[in-house]
């Protein structure tokens, strides 16, 4: 067995943080993605502009820079708002909150394109049939549109989640105690850089494999209504 110098459970704790960060960002990102896609397909021009600006800017800027901008920016924005209300103490935005915001925004921008493609691929007849049955817009969306969009969007979203999982490593730069930072700490005390970064790499690889298996299970589940010929 490889000697981890007692840092094994530290690394596992890091893996839990990494997973928490990835899942929280996924949640935020899915909501942003659905909102973004709806805005892009909206008949209101301003909403389309906002959504296009959002996806263009986020997708053209390095994820590391997004993390840094949110981490340092959120502090100054919040402090500016607080000082309006007469609160002048230093406000610190946690690395986790900044990470969820930054990665959620990133995931949301890419998910917008995936959802937009999926929404556009739903035949018009499905909308008309739902309306003909007397469904309102909300019920139509939940019962008819969303389940079909979900099935079409899942492979794309699965890929994006794998990207997100790897991007979580960036939040270690602003001090979140994830796998990467735990590995950094272990390296600085044992000087065994290759060993610990390789272990970290294989932990990410394991998380990737688990996610891939889960996504393919979800894909099977989502398309169970389809008969395969």
């Amino acid at each position: 067995m490889i000697d981890l110098h007692g840092f094994g459970d530290q690394l596992l704790q890091g893996a839990v943080i990494t997973l928490e960060l990835a899942l929280s960002s996924l949640f935020v990102g899915l909501i942003l993605g659905l909102l973004g896609a709806s805005a892009k397909l909206s008949s209101i021009r301003v909403l389309r502009w906002i959504a296009n600006g959002y996806t263009t800017i986020i997708r053209g800027i390095p994820e590391l820079l997004t993390v840094l901008i949110i981490y340092f920016g959120a502090t100054s924005v919040l402090m500016a708002i607080a000082s309006v209300f007469g609160y002048d103490e230093y406000i610190e935005v946690g690395a986790f909150a900044a990470g969820v915001t930054a990665l959620g925004l990133t995931f949301g921008a890419y998910a917008t394109e995936v959802f937009r493609g999926a929404l556009q691929s739903i035949p018009k007849g499905q909308h008309e049939a739902a309306i003909a049955l007397g469904m309102g817009p909300v019920r139509k969306f939940y019962r008819i549109i969303l389940p079909q969009v979900w099935r079409i969007a899942l492979p794309g979203l699965g890929n994006l989640f794998l990207v997100l999982l790897k991007d979580t490593a960036l939040v270690s730069v602003v001090g979140l105690d994830d796998i990467m930072r735990k590995a950094n700490i272990a390296v600085s005390s044992t000087k065994q850089a290759f060993l610990f970064y390789l272990v970290a790499a294989f932990m990410y690889l394991a998380l990737t494999i688990i996610s891939m298996a889960f996504v393919s299970y979800m894909e099977k589940r989502a398309s169970r209504g389809l008969t395969r010929g």
Partner: protein
């Protein structure tokens, strides 16, 4: 916010931009050269020839680029053999470590793109080559690779943009690329928002230029198709 610091430090940001561009161009060129043999081995009919590139691609696409950079920069120097080897003058330099990590990373992604493109070519064209009596080498050189090049372009453009964004990670190993330069300036001026937003804008402009260039090449390369465009498999 006071954007006069951006004006003051703009020449420094441009210096950083130049370093970023060097990182991206060198890695993309080297990565592209390595990717072709990897892709060809990946579609080999022989099982064990396929296994090696599969594992390589799986490792580099399944782990964060940050880990890969740290493995090369901090990891390699753990071994005395590396420190005493003739490669040490290269492996000591953060710039070349970043190039090595980026090249390994992008060659794995690019190999998958190439593989997808080669496999997307209709079987009939392969059969036609055989019927005409081409050797395997002729078939690849005259038909399959030029065809694959046209199919590959949109995905390859994406990969270059991903590499541009990934190059920001070079700042974590003390390289003064655009992000690294921005962080250095901020350490002096303490104006994170202004400088980071300016750096973000520069990245955005470079991305837009890359997209525009690729659109042009794509139109040229696929002009024989008329208005048709080829459906490219999504990169995973």
């Amino acid at each position: 916010m006071d954007f006069s610091v951006v004006v003051e430090y703009f020449p420094r940001l441009l210096q950083g931009t130049w370093v970023s561009l060097q990182l991206v161009v060198i890695s993309i060129v080297l990565g592209g050269i390595f990717a072709l043999p990897i892709a060809l081995a990946r579609i080999s009919p022989v099982g064990w020839v396929r296994a090696v590139p599969f594992a390589y691609i799986f490792f580099f696409r399944g782990t964060p680029l940050l880990v890969q950079i740290f493995l090369v920069y901090y990891g390699a120097s753990q071994f005395d053999a590396v420190r005493e080897s003739i490669l040490w003058p290269i492996l000591r330099e953060p710039f070349w470590c970043a190039i090595i990590a980026f090249t390994l990373n992008t060659s794995a992604y690019t190999a998958e793109i190439f593989r997808g493109a080669i496999q997307a070519i209709p079987q009939g064209e392969v059969e036609a080559c055989k019927v005409v009596g081409m050797t395997k080498f002729q078939m690849y050189r005259r038909i399959l690779l030029p065809r694959a090049f046209g199919i590959v372009l949109p995905a390859y453009g994406n990969e270059i943009i991903l590499m541009l964004k990934g190059s920001a990670l070079a700042s974590t190993i003390t390289i003064l690329d655009l992000t690294g330069m921005a962080r250095t300036i901020i350490a002096r001026t303490y104006t994170p928002m202004e400088i980071f937003l300016a750096a973000g804008a520069i990245y955005l402009v470079i991305s837009i230029v890359i997209i525009a260039i690729f659109r042009q090449i794509e139109l040229r390369q696929n002009r024989y198709l008329g208005t048709l465009s080829i459906k490219v498999p999504d990169k995973g």
